[in-house]
């Protein structure tokens, strides 16, 4: 990814993130969060992780935040806008940010700045040859099939945990339905 695009998406993400906490209007905050997610997705795509980036938009920006905004609009939060910002929480938040930044600087200053090494796609293709012909041929052509690789890793490498997560989600879905039914009755 060109450096200019990296800075652009990073700026979108950071400004969005700042706006989430600083804007008084809840809907505006939620929308800034969407902007932040879109910036983050841009950064993922810049790292060749197309699937992760798009899922970021599809799931977070397109579904979860829509529900957030839906609820905020239905609640019609007027008092939030009038409440004056208090000093103590703001200072506390700034303190945490400062501590984290100092920690980050401390870690990064001790890490040697390694040069960027391109992925060895041909070697990867040879290692995938026995498992999936499609992935191997795409890697050989100098193409990173990130969706296929994620699918292969999930379903061949971590099939059992995946099934467990599926069952967990099913149980929680049924739980939600049961709880909401009970309230209605």
């Amino acid at each position: 990814m060109p450096l200019a695009l990296f800075w652009f998406f990073a700026a979108v993400m950071l400004i969005g993130g700042l706006a989430v906490v600083s804007l008084r209007n809840p809907v505006a905050s939620a929308l800034s969060m969407v902007a932040s997610f879109v910036g983050l997705a841009g950064l993922f795509i810049g790292l060749n992780a197309f699937f992760v980036g798009i899922i970021q938009i599809l799931v977070y920006a397109g579904a979860i935040m829509v529900l957030f905004i839906f609820i905020i609009m239905l609640l019609d939060l007027k008092t939030e806008e009038k409440r004056a910002p208090k000093l103590a929480p703001a200072l506390g938040g700034l303190g945490i940010v400062l501590a984290f930044t100092i920690q980050l600087i401390g870690v990064l200053s001790q890490t040697p700045n390694k040069s960027h090494e391109p992925l060895d796609l041909v070697a990867a293709s040879a290692s995938m040859a026995g498992r999936s012909e499609g992935i191997a041929s795409k890697l050989k052509a100098g193409h990173l099939p990130d969706v296929n690789l994620i699918g292969d890793t999930l379903f061949n490498g971590y099939n059992f945990p995946l099934q467990i997560i599926g069952v967990l989600l099913l149980v929680s879905t049924i739980g939600v339905v049961v709880l909401s039914k009970r309230q209605a009755a």
């Binding site: 505006a28 197309f50 599809l58 397109g62 905004i69 839906f70 609009m73 969706v147």
Partner: protein
Amino acid sequence: MDLVTLLVILAKVVGLTFVVVLPLVPISVYFERRFSAIIQDRVGPNRVGIPLTLLGAKKDFSFFGLVQPMADGLKLFLKEDFTPSHVNKAFYWLAPALTVVPALVTVCVVPFGSDIIVNGIGYKLVIADLDIGPLFVFAISSLSVYGITLAGWSSNSKFPFIGGVRSTAQMISYEIALGLSVVPVLLYYGDLNLSNIVEQQSVNGWLLLPLWGNSAPWNNGGDYTAWIFWIPAMIAFVIFTTSVFAETNRMPFDLPECETELVGGYHTEYSSMKFAMFFMGEYAAMVIGSSLVVTLFLGGWSLGPWFDTWAAGLKIGSVGIGGLLNMSVFMAKVVAFILFFILVRWTVPRFRYDQLMRLGWVIFFEAALINVFLAALVIAAPQFGTLATAAGLALLAIVTGTLVWVLKVSEKKSAPISI
């Protein structure tokens, strides 16, 4: 990146978005008006043409009223752009843009035609040849819900708000059916790149017309997979198309802008070009929806293997123009599908809101899930052998039967929900 590549990208963006897709919007508005007139046995707008009488000629030139969309656009430009005092200004201005932009961004993964070959180098007729085409379309078009929701909310008025809330609920519900219904198709192709999907269909037969290439059993040693797959493909096609209707807020599902209940729905407080932007967003989403259906199910730019090979060999000088021919085939299919959209709009009456939600959550969601199972079974059957396939079919029948039974039982108790 050198200059030529940049210029090609720029030409693709400008050409495909603003020269190919955007003019389809006024054209489909014109089709809408003329076709609805034909359906209702009216005449429709057939007068607006080039006013030759102004220049001293005997008769005006009115070619079936084809200039009508331009007159419509001019009217919308010249109307007063009124901003009511009670609206939330920033969001009120932001909302129309948020409806149009996602619809136009999704254009960039649609393959419009096969390669155009200049001096032996092929240029793909697609702006961004992403490996996650359908997902990209779903992701970006799921953002267009913000435009409608914000329009309803920022108007600070009852009816737009109800329209916005309705549309949010509706679009989220049908996004699930939309995403699930396309899973069998992607399973079949084993690819998420729309260009590759169309190329496969061009060689092996369209998904809904598996008559040539590898899908025909007489060409691949009596393997009937493609023909049996026609059943899940057809189910997926029906669910997908209906969900696209719901996603674009088109007629049987246009509850968000239902005139009889909500004045005009989410755009009640909008006027002039801001209103036109919503209009444009809706029609652009319709164009993209049609092109996605055509790409996934109806062979995209291909028109049978004979035409495709003939077009690929066609040249003017050193420029292979087969891509442009294929593009016109694609556009013809898209326009035909838009006409189908319009036909449905003027044929089917509007749903009630609880019927809409029931259709989305209870019928389509389950049907799409079962369809994924069925499609996987059909694809895996050659490896499975007879016994395992029969067991899978039995399991599928049991699951389907149980679901239908549960639906029957729960239907009696549940009262209609309404928003």
